[in-house]
Point group: C4
Chain length 214, copies 4
């Protein structure tokens, strides 16, 4: 079932090691099927290079396994909580990508120091508090603190990104690490000026409507 979505979620999971966002078996991507409401997610602890589309696990929004030969990601409860509370979200990514995680470790948001942050994120990258892995605590914190951002840093932990599709959530995860690196390097040499809020809005709007093909 959901073979196309499994293929897409598989491909998006493979984007994580390809973009150096994960190590060994860490990180995960899920996608929601809008019709059935089922969620396709990476299995727990399976090496990326051994994974195939058919290894993806299908769960319902309460975490019941609908199909799959493996246990789903230990972060499944977090993904499901977010899906249940954000009907606009159909793709979620979790990573410990190192530059973004360095801000997460400190509980420091990433201000809009770069046009790329205005364009992709439309505002500062927010931070959520420390929350226990495995239950619903992380999902609750993500929902509470992410606002309109496609990305959030979880204190002492790492990154969650969301999107209208798994592809969008993965793009946010990749671009987040990119801007986190440039901002980190800048902060080592000085304190950049923030782009004013008005201009951030304008730039983000332009990017969302003018960038790319129709």
């Amino acid at each position: 079932m959901l073979e196309k979505l499994k293929e897409r979620v598989y491909k998006m999971n493979m984007m994580l090691p390809k973009n150096n966002l994960v190590t060994m078996t860490s990180g995960n991507v899920s996608g929601r099927d809008v019709e059935t409401g089922y969620v396709v997610i990476k299995p727990s602890g399976i090496p990326y290079e051994e994974m195939q589309p058919e290894d993806m696990v299908v769960v319902d929004l309460n975490g019941n396994i609908i199909e799959g030969k493996w246990k789903p990601s230990v972060d499944t409860a977090t993904h499901l909580y977010i899906y249940r509370h954000r009907s606009d979200v159909n793709g979620i990514v979790h990573t410990h990508s190192p530059y973004a995680t360095s801000f997460a470790a400190l509980g420091k948001p990433i201000p809009v120091y770069l046009t790329a942050i205005a364009d992709e994120f439309g505002g500062p990258i927010p931070v959520g508090p420390y929350a226990k892995i495995g239950g619903e605590e992380i999902g609750e914190a993500v929902i509470k603190y992410i606002g309109r951002s496609p990305a959030i840093l979880m204190k002492n932990h790492g990154v969650f990104t969301i999107g209208k599709t798994p592809e969008e959530a993965v793009k946010a995860a990749v671009m987040l690490e990119d801007v986190a690196k440039a901002v980190h390097l800048a902060l080592l040499l000085g304190e950049p000026e923030e782009i004013p809020e008005e201009e951030v809005k304008r730039a983000h709007e332009r990017y969302m409507t003018k960038y790319g093909q129709n």
Copy 2:
């Protein structure tokens, strides 16, 4: 039309991910055909790995699309402004390469701390002010502040490089990130002495006339 230039501009665009200067669909390279005055540029938001030479877009100096199935880069107006004001420039590159962008974020020029900077750039890498993406503001700022340098850092944004050919502009973009990294790492441990201006001139002149094959 302009099949050879499209092939060259395509190849030079592919040098950006190959040298880790760009992420996802960011960055772009263009080239000007001296005879027709037309400019060949990367399409907007197309992943590098899916791009082919025939996807390059041909525009005239006023931004009218002459040929191409895609919308051109959102930075096209910037490229065209530079071409219109610098008849010596036939290749332009834009990136957010991380080490160079860390200086750009701060609005900090890169002094001539290394022989490689004297050789390739003939002086400090200048900085332009914050300018809005999409219109002519960035082009104006590049023209105003780049002087005789092949590279400029745009505040809170990233890098533009220029050259007599797309190949030269790409070389400048690659070498800029290289020296930006070494200088950044040096600044974390101390304050290097600048190479005196006279010596920078001598070294640059030697490099421009003696380096490489005829």
Copy 3:
């Protein structure tokens, strides 16, 4: 003899360059055969890309060469000392992976600043004193200071990791560099709060029992 273990130890050695933990011929992995008590270890100074499973050297716990055309790793005495004093350990890894080694250079432990450290290591990464390479001094220091951690930083030197299998020890070495990088980057921007000891215990226990497939 021990062809299967040689294959596994070979594969685990090849994980070191694949994960950028070693340079040239540095680093090594060994595995103990529980039945015979023999240890299979990397030969000394052979480039990874030229190595084959049959190049692995078989030694007994006193360092006598049982089989092999090459001299074993110069760190063999260290590995053997650890095997003789820790019957629960059947895999050992040594690297100079750069971020972990930067902590080792300073003799600084890595506190539990990240959930990934709680999960994988169950506590701070301890540090052992400077000890001479080649004899038993390093083995003694590892045994004395590693406690229940799967990894230890050796002052002015590098990293040793241990596991119930060579695969587990390699996973610890890879994850150690991963968390060392994120923590290093965080420390450049501030001082993270440690995750409280109780919570570290809970998280580690959960990870050890719930993560992955059965």
Copy 4:
């Protein structure tokens, strides 16, 4: 002529991009033929990926081209000066590898903070003064300041390494960047203790006589 040495020097040049020590056409390796005294060196400004063994240039110790279709490296005079003054040296490498170059930019030596430095280099990595590229000034400074080290940092410039063979010189260049990175990262977090001179001597001696195969 000297086909075997050309093959070896070619292969060693290719080790530079493979180990991320060079960018575009920067860096070079040469080797001396002990019998004829001729030196085989990389051509100037040829991209690594296009280079073949037959592109190597053969020069005599005074810089006369003995064979080759290309101009030799602009650093040829430096290599030749070193060969004329160090009969024990038959291989030389030049790079701008970024971590080592960050120390070079500052004119800062690298102290023996790591066993890997004691092992490979037998002492601190020395620094030479700023010297003009292209003439004999760099060669003179290398000879004056390198002492018994296989590597030297040239102020505001980069790295030269020497060896009994091109292979040895390349190993020194690769290991130098490796230890420069670990030391750089350590210095960002504190000030490591140096390994005492006596112990450095002992460790280096052991490494030179016990490491690797006979």
